[in-house]
């Protein structure tokens, strides 16, 4: 594909199409609306479906319905809408329905600052819906990465039969960059079952972590519910059926961390200070690290693309031997909590802000030079 100037939200929409997304349901909200607007035009051209729903509750519900019907499906929103989607994130996790949610973060809580960036939904993305559940959360920091991680989000959703959340932010969503998009990104198709209907169990497949999901209307008549269920999908209250389910859905993520955990790092070996960042803030952090290195500070840099599951081992390893870990993020220390959990509180220097302004490289540089 040719080199072009492209907005982050458009790269997300194009990434979805490249990944095979053929259904979008959403509700207008700044700063994510360009994704819906672009797909409203593009999806029907490709034989796909777009629908603007009455709210975000309905949007994710329709996405799950379409996914059950066999289409790769997505919604996009921002904080206030993301809050409303929490109930059906839980449903998708419980029923193991692949789907992708994009949250172009703006400043909260509540209506907050509608057009200003934030990274305040990190914890909500992990724990926003009630109950323990697996989830995958990815976060891009460039336009090209937005395209790539959107494709990954769909691949992970299909591979692991799980909702996947793409945490963008207003800066990455609205920023325009020069990009050259890949023409044939690696795309995962939904796993098809090879057993006849009478042998099919939507929640058990001979010990595999991820049983294939047969779309509705293809001859496999089964039940889907948000209740705890047995291998056939029917409600159960038996702990000998509930416990294996919990074990399996936890394992389907835990056993594949090597594939799911995405991050980039450089010069972490021998570093005295490590900077860990993600999303738009990683851009400031990357610049600050360059400035610090020019001043002969030994600074390692780690950019996380997968936020959840948190890359515990990678962070622990990168932080080994450093005196301080600086974690800049546009919130009051949400991911820093995880870093503290891994490397110890005394080592972590939070650089947080939640007033709608980006964190500047100078502020991060000051934190690096503080000790």
């Amino acid at each position: 594909m040719a080199v072009q100037l492209m907005q982050g939200n458009l790269a997300c929409a194009e990434g979805a199409l490249a990944a095979g997304c053929r259904f979008f349901a959403g509700y207008p909200i700044t700063p994510s609306s360009e994704i819906a607007e672009h797909l409203a035009r593009r999806l029907p051209e490709l034989g796909g479906k777009f629908i603007q729903m009455e709210d975000e509750l309905a949007s994710l519900a329709a996405v799950i319905g379409a996914s059950v019907g066999g289409l790769k499906a997505m919604t996009a929103t921002s904080g206030p809408g993301f809050s409303l989607m929490q109930e059906n994130i839980g449903y998708a996790a419980m029923a193991e329905i692949p789907c992708v949610l994009v949250d172009v973060q703006r400043t909260g809580p509540s209506t907050g600052l509608a057009t200003s960036p934030a990274q305040g939904d990190v914890m909500q993305a992990r724990w926003g819906t009630h109950g323990d559940h697996p989830i995958i959360v990815l976060s891009p920091s460039t336009v090209r990465e937005t395209f790539d991680l959107t494709v990954k989000a769909f691949n992970f959703a299909e591979l692991y039969r799980t909702p996947v959340i793409l945490l963008m932010d207003e800066v990455v969503g609205h920023m325009r960059e020069k990009v050259e998009l890949p023409t044939n990104p690696e795309v995962v198709q939904r796993l098809a079952t090879d057993v006849p209907p009478e042998w099919y169990y939507p929640y058990e497949d001979g010990g595999a972590d991820v049983p294939p999901l047969a779309p509705f209307g293809t001859g496999f008549r089964y039940h889907i519910t948000g209740l705890f269920h047995d291998r056939a999908g029917f409600p159960t209250e038996r702990t000998d059926e509930i416990d294996p389910w919990i074990e399996r859905v936890t394992a389907k993520i835990e056993r594949n961390l090597q594939h799911i955990l995405l991050y980039q790092q450089d010069e972490v070996e021998g570093a005295r200070t490590l900077v860990i960042s993600y999303g738009a803030t990683a851009r400031s952090a990357r610049h600050a690290v360059g400035l610090a290195r020019a001043r002969r500070h030994k600074v390692g840099f780690m950019k996380l693309q997968t936020l959840w599951p948190f890359p515990i081992d990678a962070v622990a390893e990168a932080a080994q031997g450093v005196r301080m870990v600086v974690v800049p993020e546009m919130n009051l220390g949400q991911l820093a909590l995880e870093v503290e959990r891994v490397v110890g509180r005394h080592k972590v220097r939070r650089v947080g802000r939640a007033n709608g302004q980006m964190i500047t490289p100078d502020e991060i540089l000051a934190a690096i030079e503080e000790h």
Binding site: A58, A61, G65, V68, G217, R221
Partner: protein, 286 residues
């Protein structure tokens, strides 16, 4: 139909391990379920083509019992899930069953907009005037003055008229039956299933376990008798005054109009979008 094969309900039921049902003895939900599968049997649809989707509450358990593609969704959202499925699979027959609280309180917004879009879904609302599963709390259709566990001094709020709401919002077909008039309910559901577009059937039922007990309305049989006594046909209602219709349940097809169905319209939109794109490409090439 002497020559036709005898109707066998077991073809449609997941009899092996799903019964007895969770519903109380005497509940009207089983009658609605019976009417639904009799209607499907008469039409002759295959089980693979049918999706039955529900929300939360006593009605929410219905899909468990039938051998279709079944989905028990979140409270109030069944129509939104169904909208996604119908758009993804316009060839499937998508049926949604809800209770009055499910469809009109927590799901009221989805109800209005599913009707407005005229998405090709058959919506059956079992109206028992109460939240049954949670123990008898006030619902949007609880009559004014009636007692509930959350209205111990009597309900202050007027009930929401389901059928009029669906009509105003744009449903293609609106019908009302009762669980006493079971054979008529078969026919109303059959009409709704065959209708292109959003078709609503309000199945008036009762909850003797909670509403009936609190309001001293007697047994299931007595509440059934009350449905019989209070229901009048659409035809009879036309000759009655407003005063005479007070407290009556008007049963029959209330609205039947031809409006283009949403999923089919979207299919035409796809064809147009693809044609204009090809046209644009051709233009560029020239």
């Amino acid at each position: 139909m002497a020559t036709a094969e005898r109707f066998d309900p077991y073809v449609y039921l997941r009899t092996k391990k799903k019964f007895p049902a969770v519903w109380c003895a005497g509940c009207g939900n089983g009658i609605v379920l019976g009417a639904l599968i009799r209607a499907i049997d008469r039409i002759g649809w295959q089980r693979d083509e049918i999706a039955l989707i529900s929300g939360i509450g006593c009605s929410g358990r219905m899909p468990v019992y039938v051998d279709f593609n079944t989905m028990h969704t979140t409270h109030g959202r069944a129509l939104a899930f169904a909208t996604g499925l119908k758009l993804a699979r316009p060839d499937m027959h998508v049926i949604v069953v809800m209770g009055d609280g499910d469809a009109l309180a927590i799901g009221g917004n989805h109800f209005i907009h599913a009707a407005r879009r005229n998405i090709g879904v058959t919506a059956i609302v079992i109206n028992n005037s109460i939240y049954g599963m949670t123990g008898g709390q006030t619902s949007p259709t609880t009559p004014e003055g009636a007692l509930s566990t959350t209205a111990p001094y009597g309900n202050m709020e007027p009930p929401l008229p389901i059928a009029q709401l669906a009509e105003a919002a744009g449903a293609a077909l609106v019908a009302r039956g009762t669980v006493y008039h079971a054979r008529e309910l078969d026919q109303l559901i059959e009409r709704a299933l065959l209708k292109e577009g959003f078709a609503l059937v309000e199945a008036v039922s009762y909850c003797h376990t909670t509403f009936g007990r609190l309001n001293k309305m007697g047994t299931a049989v007595e509440m059934m008798q009350a449905l019989k006594d209070n229901a009048v046909t659409v035809e009879a209602a036309r000759g009655m005054t407003a005063a005479q219709l007070q407290g009556k349940i008007v049963r029959g097809v209330l609205v039947d109009r031809d409006i283009p169905e949403y999923a089919a319209r979207y299919q035409r939109l796809i064809e147009a979008a693809q044609a204009s794109r090809l046209g644009a490409l051709g233009h560029n090439e020239r």
